[in-house]
Symmetry: C2
Subunit: 357 residues, 2 copies
DNA sequence: ACTGTCAATGGAACCGCTTCCACGGTCGCG
DNA sequence: CGCGACCGTGGAAGCGGTTCCATTGACAGT
């Protein structure tokens, strides 16, 4: 079933069939009808490979995502899928687990023949890669990562760290610990570090001490965070609150608290970051970042460029953070009065049940 | 950067470069070295579109997944990604939200030029589609769906329904309700119906009545299940246990119970199905199906065929179900003795914390 | 020394589509 | 009525690979 078959069946040339397929105006209505009939009769579909080769693009969007296993990545991907739905672009997934992996994928994606556009998540690509991709004319959008000269969709992670910490401070906590990502993670994620910076700034501004050992680092998984948290909770000057730089880690803290026989929030308040799906069930107070929305926006930006509705603009699109207050936080010692709650509520939002997924 | 450039640079013909690229033995070591040097020097990478067109395949695996938004689909996708990692196949995602959607995608996937192999999830494809795909020589594996003549990866959903119901019966429950999917869902999922069948069989075998209205149907989302559950819990002959045909729905039941002021498990036991990630946090007793593993197995089967390690065999690969006992179940009226627990434990597994994701 | 064989290689044909170019036929206009 | 413009169309070239086929040269056998 090739274009030649259709042409023969319709008694026209191959070029004409192609013009019909591509909605060229340079075809008479009569001919167009004949060709369409032939297409219908033969159940013909153009070969996307041949189209791609000939046109120099492939109707495909590449999504480079580190740790496809992370809940936040999934949430973003959902947004991307939603945005792509109805467009004529396919979605190709590139999972990245190591720097080698990353460089390999980015290298193959340097040209228009693998993907017409790129969304890179959480991963600051090496400047050299960026430069090659941009020079090759492949539009790219970074999500949750920054690089000069390319459009990005980000949140202000430092501010997020401040938001969470300030909330705990206003609740009356003074001994506030932090658990975050390792600083020297091989793929160069910076969100954890920035959230930590916000924490440190706020603590300093409030005149609160951050003793040695109040800041723990662990890989971005629950189990590791639990162990680090267990150590912190075992200190003589046990904190009354912990801010974890991701919800996964916060859940690890909750487990550690349970294991240590601590009541949450009476003995220990816990704040997370991200607001992944689980957090609602766990009743976790957290800094919500619009994960789904970030994916959707990135995909839209890319589609706008690909479909000629916009120029690529190296803008930073900043999405807002929002503190969601649930049941893992209270003033130290537990909720004492309704008034206490109102006070801290100034910057926050009560949980609205997220519905229908 | 084309093969001709490399050929010129190495002082050989294009055919020779191609042979080097494809590890043909028909190249002298000297020439091979020169070509490799040229490839290195020019940082040449073959155009996958051209390769695909020429070879008639495209190094791509298509995954057709209904409701990418469902937790169970994600879990399976994780398994697929893991299995594909290291292979030279890219993963293209086709999200399906409606029958039209489905037929459209399946139609374009009928040929080797879009995907070399297909994994279809939870979706019984129309027999005509299957036939066309098979005839076109595109290997296909169904996950969580059956069709004659193609390999499938499934679980025994009827047995799963029995497992959950029997567990409740053995705990001493007599008024057991069921909440499942709508029977006439447009995409033709059957798992919900089969689980219901297992439920009904077991109830009948135990001589227990299933009053009208004890069986509720709702779309596969939490909110809908909550409402249906609320109605059931409002009955004068309120059940002491509910078996929900998915964890998402079970979580809806838990919400309804909370809203009705019922204590779980004292006033109401709840069992789900799937064991998605959230369930561990929610403490939900559930029938675990190996979601991740099912994706991985499907991808492996496909790769084995594509890489010539196996013949396509229309076998049904059945994965085992397992009851995971957590904290949403107890004998009616609440846990009364340790002995009571041991009795029901025969078919089940205590929760092992699922770690490190 | 001559010939048959075979390994190494260059080059053409082909994969199926898009697009450019050229050509015939209308049509409008002077 | 004649000429140029332009529309509709067929066909060829090209996209960048793979693969087949033919050619060349080395080598072995007689």
């Amino acid at each position: 079933m090739t274009i030649a078959d259709v042409a023969a069946h319709a008694g026209v040339g191959a070029g004409t069939v192609s013009r019909v397929l591509n909605n060229s105006p340079r075809v008479s209505p009569t001919t167009r009808a004949r060709v369409l009939a032939a297409i219908e009769a033969l159940d013909y579909r153009p070969n996307p490979l041949a189209q791609g080769l000939s046109r120099g693009r492939c109707q495909t969007l590449g999504v480079v995502v580190p740790f496809f296993t992370h809940a936040s990545a999934i949430e973003r991907l959902r947004g991307i899928v939603a945005a792509l739905d109805g467009s004529r672009y396919d979605l190709v997934l590139f999972n990245v687990e190591s720097p080698v992996h990353r460089d390999e994928h980015l290298a193959t994606l340097t040209r228009r023949d693998r993907a017409d556009g790129l969304i890179v998540m959480s991963l600051p690509p090496p400047p050299a890669s960026i430069e090659r991709i941009v020079r090759a004319g492949v539009p790219i959008v970074l999500v949750d990562a920054r690089a000069p000269g390319v459009p990005t969709v980000v949140t202000d992670d430092v501010e997020g760290g401040r938001l969470a910490t300030r909330y705990l401070v206003e609740l009356g906590h003074e001994r506030i610990a932090f658990i975050g990502d390792d600083h020297d993670n091989p793929l160069g994620f910076v969100a954890g570090r920035e959230r930590e910076q916000g924490y440190r700034e706020t603590m300093a501004a409030a005149g609160l001490a951050v003793p040695d050992g109040y800041v723990g680092h662990a890989p971005h998984v629950r189990g590791a965070a639990r162990e680090v948290a267990a150590r912190i909770l075992d200190r003589p000057d046990r904190p009354t609150a912990v801010f974890a730089s991701s919800d996964s880690q916060a859940l690890g803290v909750l487990e550690a608290a349970r294991a240590a026989g601590l009541a949450v929030p009476e003995d220990l308040s816990v704040v997370g970051f991200d607001d992944i799906e689980v957090s609602g069930y766990a009743g976790l107070t957290t800094v919500r970042q619009p994960l789904y929305e970030s994916g959707r926006l990135a995909a839209r930006l890319l589609l706008d460029v690909l479909e000629g509705r916009a120029e690529p603009e190296p803008r930073e699109h900043r999405l807002e953070l929002e503190l969601v207050e649930r049941t893992t936080t209270s003033p130290p010692g537990g909720r004492t009065s309704v008034a206490g709650r109102g006070r801290a509520g100034g910057h926050s939002v009560r949980d609205r049940v997220s519905e229908e997924r």
